[in-house]
């Protein structure tokens, strides 16, 4: 029997109970991450990709709550635990968070504290998760900084985040996330705020570290270029739901869902300016969270919507013959 996936999320729903009503930020998300692989979650702002990531670590801010679904995490010993049912601040959850699953953010200052040196922060994290002496933890912290390409790591241990440049701060955050050798790294738009040359360096670094540790990555992004560079599998989200799931090659070369197709067409492609100066657009905009369409969330903007059906029927995630999954009525009769 093949091993269970490292992380398996099924029918995850995370809702925010605000005074004005319930916002269903995540409303039916399924995917799996295998060891040593990279899964990209692709979507525009408000599609629920960040809330999905935060749900896995159970760090959703109030008034948000994971209301249903399973988040099955395979521990080191092979046993499987459902993160969705663990107490948020319980011992087990705290051991997983930061130790087995680490997370990095777009803004490094959301994981680095401003008043402690980066060395102290990394050493503290190591001591929290591992049974090491202080000096061994210090050596490990230096190693971690070296590994993320921080020159002069021993001296920089004593520096505070504000003394580092943006790119170096990003590296310090990655070192902090990786110091306990997590088996899954969740990266929420880690390169969005960076310049292209720094972004390229950080992506290379992350790929290298992944090979070294056989770590899995869950990479949240809206940038198709980044997806093309690093993903093995891709999940496309729209309005809180997974609308398509497949390998990176399928997503780029044979996208099935009209939203994915439209998204790929609307990005300016290098070298295509001679042919067509106008970009294909997706009409309208993402609906307001309180005004979700009754049927398929994308129906009002979809060029291929079937009159009378797409606006009323909520499509199920259909698995096609090649294993590709798509949530669209156009494919409902092609289920494998």
């Amino acid at each position: 029997m093949p091993e269970a996936p490292l992380l398996k999320v099924s029918d995850l729903r995370t809702h925010f109970f605000t005074d004005e009503g319930v916002v269903k930020s995540v409303d039916g998300v399924d995917f799996a991450v295998e060891q040593g692989r990279t899964l990209c979650v692709l979507g525009e702002s408000g599609c629920g990709k960040s809330v999905t990531a935060r749900s896995i670590l159970r760090i959703v801010d109030r008034p948000g709550r994971v209301v249903s679904g399973r988040i099955e995490w395979r521990r080191k010993d092979g046993s499987v635990v459902d993160i969705a049912t663990l107490p948020v601040a319980g011992r087990e959850m705290r051991r997983i968070r930061g130790g087995e699953i680490a997370m990095i953010f777009q803004e490094p200052m959301s994981s680095l504290g401003p008043i402690h040196s980066i060395g102290d922060q990394i050493i503290e994290t190591i001591l929290l998760h591992q049974d090491l002496s202080k000096s061994a933890a210090r050596d490990k912290a230096i190693q971690a900084l070296r590994r993320v390409g921080m020159p002069d790591a021993e001296r920089r241990l004593a520096l505070y985040p504000f003394q580092l440049s943006g790119g170096m701060r990003q590296r310090a955050m990655i070192a902090l996330a990786l110091c306990c050798e997590p088996r899954l790294l969740i990266a929420d738009e880690p390169t969005t705020a960076l310049d292209v040359t720094t972004q390229a360096n950080i992506l290379d670094l992350m790929k290298g570290l992944q090979d070294e540790y056989r770590m899995a990555m869950l990479f949240i992004t809206h940038d198709l270029g980044v997806v093309a560079e690093i993903a093995d599998e891709v999940v496309v989200m729209y309005l809180g739901r997974v609308v398509e799931r497949g390998t990176v090659d399928e997503i780029f070369h044979a996208p099935r869902h009209p939203y994915t197709q439209a998204l790929l067409r609307s990005v300016p492609k290098l070298g295509s300016r001679g042919e067509n100066r106008r970009l294909a657009v997706i009409r309208g905009s993402v609906p307001h969270p309180f005004a979700r369409p009754a049927g398929c969330g994308f129906a009002p903007r979809c060029e291929q919507a079937i009159a009378g059906r797409c606006a009323t029927i909520q499509p199920e995630l259909t698995t096609l013959a090649d294993g590709h999954q798509v949530r669209c009525l156009l494919y409902s009769d092609q289920a494998a």
Binding site: E44, V196, G225, F252, L270, G271
Partner: protein, 343 residues
């Protein structure tokens, strides 16, 4: 075909910010944000300024708009009628007539619209203060502007919070266009937008350019967007322009090692071509504009640097007609672009 007319001629522009220290606020140095930038914008074209954060592209844009006072240099503006004027030297009052001709679109549609004003005010304010329209006439004008940018004229009395990010950016564009400007400075105007909204906005900017014969100074860091929209591109590094060429040439045959590195870092948008492009990894960090290294500011990171680069600042010069580069070795280097030569 007639020679393209120059709309704006920037010559040796410098913007230095003093660094002050101590209780006496003594000036201990200068951040040379823009340090000798020269370029010309032709009427009707889109010129893009690209570069990494801190390279001075935004400061250059702000100096052109005269939100900032340049420390030195000229900004020669060619009005529709009359001789060119140097905007760099004008005071507030003398600038007024030209403020109508050069307008700005901001990056963040969230913070650039006053949340307490309805759209009618946001877009119409400049029409009223310039004595162009008020009352019903103003409403008609604003409604018309909204229609032009693809918003419904009924939204006149709504407040910014009632609009999505993309719609807000359209309001910002309508405001920039209200006074029928000739030059629009768009500072990262689409960077904060989602992919689908970004496409709509880029199309709109191009349509409006054709309709109103606008000239754009487009400031951005996303090279695929820049490639899509620009006629010519100026690449900046630590306060200076290091290369200026038309878009196709720059992407096919860069003449400055920094441009080559920048292009090679653009993500390849096809997973099948992964790893097909040789990437140039820049070592070290961007130089500090308060203490730039001697000689070429790029030399500590450049693979081709020699003694001359460490001592002598290269000037921006024409390498081949229409293609300028600020590199001592521009002629002898064979640098790689990321797009094939245009046929």
């Amino acid at each position: 075909m007639t020679e393209p007319t120059t709309l704006l001629d920037v010559r040796d522009l410098k913007v230095h910010f003093p660094i002050q220290k101590g209780v006496l606020r003594r000036v201990v140095g200068h951040v040379k944000a823009v340090d000798g930038v020269s370029f010309a914008i032709r009427a009707g074209e889109t010129l893009s300024l690209v570069g990494e954060s801190g390279c001075g592209k935004t400061t250059t844009g702000r100096a052109v708009l005269r939100i900032l006072k340049p420390s030195a240099g000229e900004i020669l503006y060619h009005p529709k009628d009359g001789p060119p004027v140097d905007l760099a030297g004008l005071d507030k009052r003398a600038l007024r007539p030209y403020r109508r001709d050069i307008r700005m679109i901001f990056q963040d549609p969230q913070s650039s619209l006053n949340p307490r004003l309805p759209v009618l005010e946001i877009v119409g304010q400049c029409l009223r203060t310039n004595g162009i329209a008020n009352g019903t006439e103003l409403e008609h004008r604003v409604a018309d502007l909204l229609r032009r940018v693809g918003l419904r004229p009924e939204y006149l009395r709504r407040y910014p919070h009632a609009f999505s990010g993309g719609e807000r950016q359209r309001i910002g564009i309508a405001r920039a266009l209200a006074l029928s400007p000739r030059l629009v400075v768009a500072d990262e105007a689409v960077s904060a937008l989602d992919v689908s909204v970004q496409a709509q906005t880029l199309n709109l900017l191009q349509d409006l350019q054709a309709e109103f014969a606008l000239t754009y100074l487009f400031i951005a860091h996303d090279l695929s967007v820049v490639e899509h929209i620009s006629d010519r591109i100026a690449v900046m590094y630590v306060g200076r322009i290091v290369e200026l060429a038309d878009t196709a040439t720059l992407f096919a045959r860069p003449a400055h090692p920094y441009t080559e590195a920048l292009l090679s870092a653009v993500p390849i948008d096809d997973p099948r071509l992964r790893g097909s492009r040789a990437r140039i990894r820049l070592g070290g960090e961007v130089a500090d504009p308060a203490r730039p290294p001697p000689g070429c500011a790029f030399h500590p990171r450049c693979a081709h640097a020699d003694a001359r680069c460490r001592a002598e600042i290269p000037v921006l010069r024409e390498v081949v007609p229409g293609h300028q580069a600020a590199c001592h070795h521009a002629e002898s280097l064979t640098l790689r672009g990321i797009l094939p030569e245009a046929a």
